[in-house]
């Protein structure tokens, strides 16, 4: 009986979290992206639907719902239909371990897994499969090239990301996200681990295909890359996955380095969202500041700079902590 009850509770949580991701990560994310881009380029951005254009993405979603799903004749129908689902679900699974804040003694987290951050790294690594299959199943040269490039990029930046997470786990002595936030009671880890923070930010931007790491989607050379053949709602699912992953990465940056929900005066939930959206803003700001990298530069940055730096950072942290014991 208790099993059925737990499953019901879990389903309810799942619906809430996914609605949240669709509204706050994707819809608000796209709106902010356009508004901030407009602001940086001295234009106004969306303006007509709703006050300040806030309902623009709602209108876009309704429009996409009415679009025809086109599957090219040469595509592999089954794989083509599965790929966007993989990306969306893999991105959303990461939300299970994100602690959103604290109400009294109650921590707002779906489940505080013992291996929280490792779980997060593991489920994010599944996104690459969705992207690769989306690119391959389209049977389109641009899409396949985009998918292959994207896969090389994602796997290359997963390693520095892992090193940064490990540096934090070493300080906290735990892999649970709640423990990591609690370990930052006095000092945020961004001050103790500045190098890991930098590595994590760069790798997170690359993992979410943000400019300057948006080679997989490079409009000007690959006509949108791996999802070139996708239309309507399937395309929207790819976008949902991408923005959900961006918000998850920003939230993880907050958890690992910015003290999670901790902060004075304001309620913890508010602190968490302020910090998370500050990181989101940072990603969007970077987009209009740096030009896109070339693929060889991109891979060099990961393998020849971030990877050895991450390793040295771990060894250095280990040495300092062991000596200070």
């Amino acid at each position: 009986m208790s099993w059925a009850l737990e499953i019901l509770k879990a389903s309810l949580y799942a619906v809430i979290v996914f609605t949240f991701a669709a509204v706050f990560a994707a819809m608000l994310g796209v709106y902010l992206e356009r508004k901030i881009s407009g602001w940086i380029q001295a234009r106004v951005g969306p303006k007509h639907v709703g006050p300040q254009g806030i309902l623009q993405t709602v209108a876009d979603t309704i429009k996409l719902l009415q679009k025809e799903n086109i599957v090219p004749r040469n595509a592999d129908f089954l794989v083509f239909s599965t790929a966007p689902l993989i990306v969306t679900v893999a991105a959303l699974l990461g939300y299970v371990v994100i602690p959103w804040g604290k109400l009294g003694d109650w921590i707002l987290i779906v489940r505080d897994l013992n291996i929280g951050v490792l779980y997060f790294a593991a489920v994010s690594s599944l996104i690459v499969i969705g992207i690769l299959t989306g690119g391959w199943s389209s049977n389109n040269k641009y899409a396949l090239l985009g998918g292959l490039r994207s896969a090389s990029q994602l796997i290359s930046y997963e390693l520095p990301l892992g090193f940064a997470i490990i540096s934090v786990a070493m300080m906290a002595g735990s892999l649970s996200t709640v423990d990591i936030v609690n370990a930052q009671r006095d000092v945020w880890f961004v001050f103790k681990q500045p190098l890991a923070f930098l590595i994590f930010l760069i790798a997170a931007a690359a993992e979410t295909n943000r400019i300057p790491f948006d080679l997989p989607e490079a409009e000007s050379e690959l006509v949108a890359g791996y999802f070139a053949e996708y239309t309507g709602m399937r395309f929207a699912l790819f976008q949902l996955g991408e923005y959900a992953e961006m918000l998850a990465m920003a939230a993880m940056t907050t958890v690992l380095f910015l003290g999670g929900w901790r902060g004075p005066w304001l309620p913890p939930i508010l602190w968490f969202f302020i910090k998370t959206y500050a990181v989101v803003f940072f990603f969007m700001w970077v987009r209009w500041t740096y030009p896109r990298l070339r693929i060889d530069q991109l891979l060099n940055l990961s393998w020849k700079v971030l990877l050895p730096l991450g390793l040295l950072n771990i060894l250095g942290t280990g040495l300092v902590v062991t000596l200070a014991r």
Partner: protein, 118 residues
Amino acid sequence: MLVDWLYVAVFGVVGVLLAVLPLAIVWLISPRGEYPQKLLTYESGVVPFGQAWSQFNVRYYLFSLAFVLFDVEVIYLYPWAIVFKELGAVAFMEMFVFLAILFLAFIYAWRKGALEWV
């Protein structure tokens, strides 16, 4: 602990259902019109030639291979990271040797050009 993972499993299943839901709506209300040009592969407006499913370069393989190797290394770092404080200097030395050997692998791959995008 099993309950934790029950939540993960339910999230996976419900996630798929929720993602399929809009696709079902689209299937119900979207217009459908078939003509051969629409189902053609997009190739910047040119009539597509040949197959996209062709042979690719070996460089992708080399990168993914190095990735798998270092990913396995990262996996060993996780349990070490959360216990090394209690185990002290010996644990640190053990990890130092482990990482030093893998650093050799890294340098070898670099010198042999496995990390070059050519």
